[in-house]
């Protein structure tokens, strides 16, 4: 893996489609949680349980979305440079 492979348009489109699907999936779950929270508030149906769980679950899903985005864009923008065979070796070079 000494050189970066040329990325054809189809591949790039498929990669973007995966990222969009991840966004839809995670935002869909967050919307579902928020929807249940709104419903419990409207009905006065012990909203504390919904608030408590939303406060834990939504940041976890946002963090997962953040990691996915970081990897997708991070790898694309960091694709040029000297290739190494092992990640730990690169870490060490960076530290030096």
């Amino acid at each position: 893996m000494k050189e970066r492979a040329q990325t054809p348009g189809g591949v790039r489109a498929a990669q973007l489609a995966i990222l969009v699907l991840i966004w839809i999936f995670i935002l869909g779950i967050i919307s579902w949680i928020v929807g249940l929270l709104r419903l419990s508030l409207q009905l006065g149906d012990i909203p504390s349980a919904s608030i408590g769980i939303s406060l834990v679950a939504i940041p976890v899903f946002l963090l997962l979305l953040g990691v996915a985005n970081y990897v997708f864009w991070g790898l694309r923008s960091a694709g040029s440079g000297e290739a190494t065979s092992a990640p730990a070796e690169a870490e060490r070079r960076h530290e030096r």
């Binding site: 591949v11 929270l37 679950a57 790898l75």
Partner: protein, 452 residues
């Protein structure tokens, strides 16, 4: 496509992807028959309703919920074991993490699918989406499993990226798939830093998420006032059982793939020895929690609790209970505790025994309690129907089949992690061990900046 010479001895890890033997087709055919049986059974249940199962009042949960808890438990194989070993920098983890992570993702899908089977009509799941109430531990389950599934998928995918790039550059098949999933990986220093950072974040994140999932699964039972379920230690008891069965499932897959794909050079006896020790430790922990759980119920002697207690110890469910005790404690103790028996075959037998024992444990947690409910109902009984047996076989077959398919598309052992271990970690480990040891007299003090 480039020459595979650059991969050195690890080129053999690509062989299962490039070549398919007769054994693969025979095994896949058998598993496909199992899946077909499951599909037919589900078709029967879908058209005739839950009446074709052995579920009844008061025993409204049976095989499906047992399988749900069992599969979710096994999912702890991967992410948790892999994440803990990765964070602890246990170098022997390298050939086993991928196998463990794949188990996690697949069984989560199958485990969650068992809830749909238990619903009878799958369209009822839409009610959970539209009108779910967060007072119910069932909805906590749905949320935590969704988080765990997303995290596990990401945690499986990230360490796969460098290997997918190897396949993109060297494989003759699925080029579009590999090129897409490789995300332009070229192995540059910056890319490696990005990937290492993301893997480190995920390794830290998945441990609490994994523990929360099985704790929440236990809450489905312990938040009720049912005899045998209303227990404060159910959370850790379930987590311990999950890790226990997860390690056992991982060992079984390691033995199968070691033999099928001739991976003896990668999955060495030392890997089985270390996992065997972990399994033995978990067996002791499981026994401790089981003992604590039952001695508390026995000492309290609440009449409703004692009905369930005696049903398990001497009544209708005694065979299952004592089989569980033998499978989860006596067999692993003997095979893993005595060095003469601690061979790969011995460890495999102990692992199969633990998987059977943990399935029985889930069964005897669920069914005896429902057969002897706290409410003044007649005691019930439960006999699974052929439909439930069919769906159970279908689920296990689907698990095996999907695992096989995964191994035909992606390397089942992480190639880059093995290379990293060979090229870099050998030196690093020496430095690390030196850093653990006390230095020469006065050296440590000088390093801390204190004058001699």
């Amino acid at each position: 496509m480039r020459s595979t010479e650059a991969l050195g001895p690890d080129v053999c890890l690509l062989r299962p992807i490039e070549e398919t033997g007769r054994g693969f087709y025979i095994t896949a055919g058998i598993l496909l028959l199992g899946v077909l049986w499951g599909v037919l059974a589900y078709g029967s249940q879908l058209s005739r309703g839950l009446g074709v199962t052995g579920l009844n009042q008061p025993v409204s949960w049976g095989f499906y919920v047992t399988n749900f808890v069992f599969f979710i438990g096994i999912s702890h194989a991967g992410t948790l074991i892999s994440a803990i070993l990765r964070m602890a920098q246990a170098e022997w983890r390298r050939p086993i993490t991928r196998m463990a992570e794949v188990i996690t993702v697949l069984v989560l899908f199958i485990g969650a699918g068992n809830i749909l089977l238990d619903l009878g009509r799958p369209d009822r799941a839409l009610n959970v989406l539209s009108y779910g109430r967060y007072q119910s531990p069932l909805l906590w389950d749905a949320t935590s499993i969704s988080a765990y599934l997303t995290a596990s998928l990401l945690y499986l995918y990230l360490p796969l990226i460098p290997d997918i790039a190897i396949l993109r550059d060297h494989s003759t098949r699925h080029h579009f798939l590999y090129a897409t999933l490789a995300l332009g990986w070229a192995g540059t220093e910056r890319q490696i830093r990005v990937l290492n950072r993301a893997i480190a974040v995920m390794a830290v994140l998945v441990i609490p998420v994994a523990i929360s999932v099985h704790t929440v699964v236990s809450f489905v039972f312990s938040m009720t006032l049912q005899p045998g379920w209303h227990s404060t230690i159910f959370g850790p008891y379930f987590v311990v059982g999950a890790i226990f069965s997860g390690i056992a499932a991982l060992i079984i897959f390691m033995v199968i793939f070691r033999r099928a794909y001739r991976l003896e050079n990668y999955l060495k006896p030392i890997h089985f020895q270390y996992l065997g020790f972990l399994l033995l430790t978990m067996s002791f922990l499981w026994f401790y929690f089981t003992f604590a759980e039952y001695i508390t119920a026995y000492y309290g002697s609440v009449p409703e609790e004692m009905k369930v207690f005696w049903a398990k110890f001497t009544g209708d469910y005694a065979l299952f209970f004592w089989s569980m005790a033998i499978c989860n404690f006596a067999v692993p103790m003997t095979l893993l505790g005595i060095p003469r028996f601690r061979t790969i075959t011995g460890i495999l037998i102990a692992s199969i025994s633990v998987c059977v024992g943990m399935w029985l444990e889930r069964f005897i947690i669920i069914v005896p309690t429902l057969s002897h409910p706290r409410l003044p109902l007649e005691p019930g009984s439960y006999l699974p129907s052929p439909v439930e047996w069919g769906l159970m076989v279908g689920c296990f077959s689907l698990f095996g089949l999907l695992y096989m398919f995964f191994s035909k598309i992606f390397p089942i052992i992480s190639i880059w992690e093995i290379r990293e271990g060979r090229e870099v970690s050998l030196r690093e480990v020496e430095d690390r061990v030196r850093s653990y040891l006390p230095g020469e007299q006065g050296e440590d003090i000088a390093a801390e900046g204190v004058p001699r």
